[in-house]
Symmetry: C2
Subunit: 343 residues, 2 copies
């Protein structure tokens, strides 16, 4: 709603003093234009951004999401940049689940009183993360809403828009019994389970910067690992191998997210084992959390899962190994009512 | 971040009780699918929605924005539906400024504790407004963040994605001296100036439901008029007339938003008069607001302005008259430094 346009910039920030605003807009402008390609036809100052579509585009693919309350921990511990990177990584991961190739990203940042340093840190991190997935930062909005947001908390929302060729959508419809399930390693909580994690942190009175041998690092480092972005490695795999389904393991954990991409009559059977980042055992022990709640809240080490034909499994594992991304055979598809069992 | 998927639904709501959640998801699902066309390839339950692109698409056009603090008044006075309609209308208006034709909309709704009735009201209003501009509601996210949002306030963010043919972008680059400026009537504040309007309401102790002869209606009716959506009438005009520039008059008022679409060397000279909805004089008198602040805060009766060749002006005025949308000749483009003068 703030719309004091600035020639050459779609970012608009009201309510900060004029000098601070000019400096902020300079930083945002530099971050945004650093992501731009010659395909960008309208970005700067336009009411809506525009970008040329690549040849061979059949489908527009899009997803919108926030960052949730991981932002509160990042704010408290002075690590806002991770939130900017996360909102892009999360959206890019969702996009590739449908076969979308990132093209353009739009963001929204709101807080009670805009903190120019925080906004700039967020947008710079988003721009860097956009560059890593080949998306341009096509537009954004910054809103100051004193009676809507508390204290110095902010919300960050991102929309990733991508494209897929006419035969390039991944819907899960071709999944069939006998297919193999491959899991990709997560870096930690990614952006899910932070209401529970914050409760554990608050109740246990954690010192975020004290090294903890059970974590092999500090609580701040372990809990604020960036959400891993699987998009580049997954997109290059899609050029080599036909993938039947991809699930981004977000809130609700592995079984419930994997079930979302299964067709009727197909059941996932998780049997493999994979390394669990120490932060999960640490949270479970410190917080006294039951196994079931752990499984239904956290990714527990698998941040993305894909379903491929049995004959392709070795190629898939080798592909991710070469991309330095740990991949594990974690199960198979069997006949049965739609759902996921174990482990 | 909430991602408890539901087969057949991209809307995901955590934190409400299971029965209430199922009922909410049913309402959201019905609203969302009511907007869907056969072009929708992935919506329900997918990590990212997908829609087929119309033939002849050259550019993807996109914009993201919130609703600002109009939502606080709507919340207080129990009129949440207007916020759902507004977020779509605002985004569609921004999109047509660049020549974009609405294709798909994605929303984000967040509050401290999800109120199922409020969320359903918002999404149903968004779905209806999407239908009116020909966009499908392709995806959405609902987030519950108790330590980020205050009381029962919510934020609503919308992203409109559209398409334009290879020669269909409107950039303002072809504006030249001698062109005419046409203004389109607003319904009131639209979604801008609500921080100031709320201050006036609070200081004057307004009864929102008492008829006020100066308004010709109640304060609630006058202040919560829906943001007019110009997209359908504007898109049909674009099929008849070459339009050089379009400006959506949002925060900052007419002069500053019009200046955004002028090229260097072109100056807008506003000379016409147009009817001012009574709510503006009412706010100015009740709040004792200076003329300059009024001009820099509110649209003052013109919600969208377009720039056309002199020879097309009569056609444009007649087009909007037939669309039952009041249009006024409000000025012309002259040679001079980029900017806007008067009235």
């Amino acid at each position: 709603m703030t719309s004091e346009g600035r020639p050459g910039l779609t970012y608009r920030a009201a309510g900060v003093d004029v000098d601070a605003k000019a400096r902020l807009l300079d930083r945002l402008g530099a971050a945004v234009t650093s992501t731009h390609s010659p395909a960008v036809a309208l970005g700067a100052g336009a009411f809506a951004g525009a970008i040329g579509l690549p040849a061979g585009t059949g489908f527009l693919v899009a997803t919108t999401d926030g960052v949730g309350t991981k932002a509160l921990l990042a704010r408290r511990w002075g690590r806002d940049a991770v939130v900017g990177a996360d909102v892009v990584a999360h959206a890019a991961n969702d996009l590739v689940c449908s076969g979308g190739r990132p093209l353009a990203f739009l963001d929204y940042v709101a807080m009670a009183r805009l903190d120019a340093a925080v906004v700039a840190t967020l947008v710079e991190a988003m721009a860097e993360a956009c560059g890593a997935v080949g998306a341009v930062l096509l537009g954004g909005e910054t809103a100051e809403m004193p009676d809507v947001y508390t204290g110095d908390a902010y919300d960050v929302v991102g929309t990733m828009i991508g494209v897929a060729p006419p035969d390039g959508l991944i819907t899960g419809a071709t999944v069939r019994p006998g297919d193999r399930i491959v899991g990709l390693a997560s870096t930690g909580l990614h952006t899910n389970g932070y209401s529970l994690a914050r409760r554990v942190v608050d109740q246990a009175g954690i010192d975020p910067d004290a090294p903890d041998p059970r974590l092999g690092t500090t609580a701040a480092d372990a809990l604020l690992q960036p959400h891993r972005c699987y998009a580049p490695a997954m997109l290059s795999l899609l050029e080599r191998v036909r993938v039947a389904a991809i699930a981004h393991i977000t809130g609700g954990g592995l079984p419930s997210n994997l079930a979302r991409v299964l067709p009727e009559g197909c059941r996932g059977r998780l049997a493999g084992v994979w390394p669990r980042p120490p932060v999960f055992d640490w949270l479970q022990r410190v917080g006294g959390i039951a196994d079931d709640e752990m499984r239904q809240t956290f990714n527990l080490g698998v941040g993305m899962a894909l379903i491929v034909r049995r004959r392709d499994e070795a190629t898939v594992l080798e592909h991710f190994a070469r991309a330095a991304l740990a991949a594990f055979p974690i199960g198979e598809v069997v006949e049965g009512p739609r759902g996921v069992d174990g482990p």
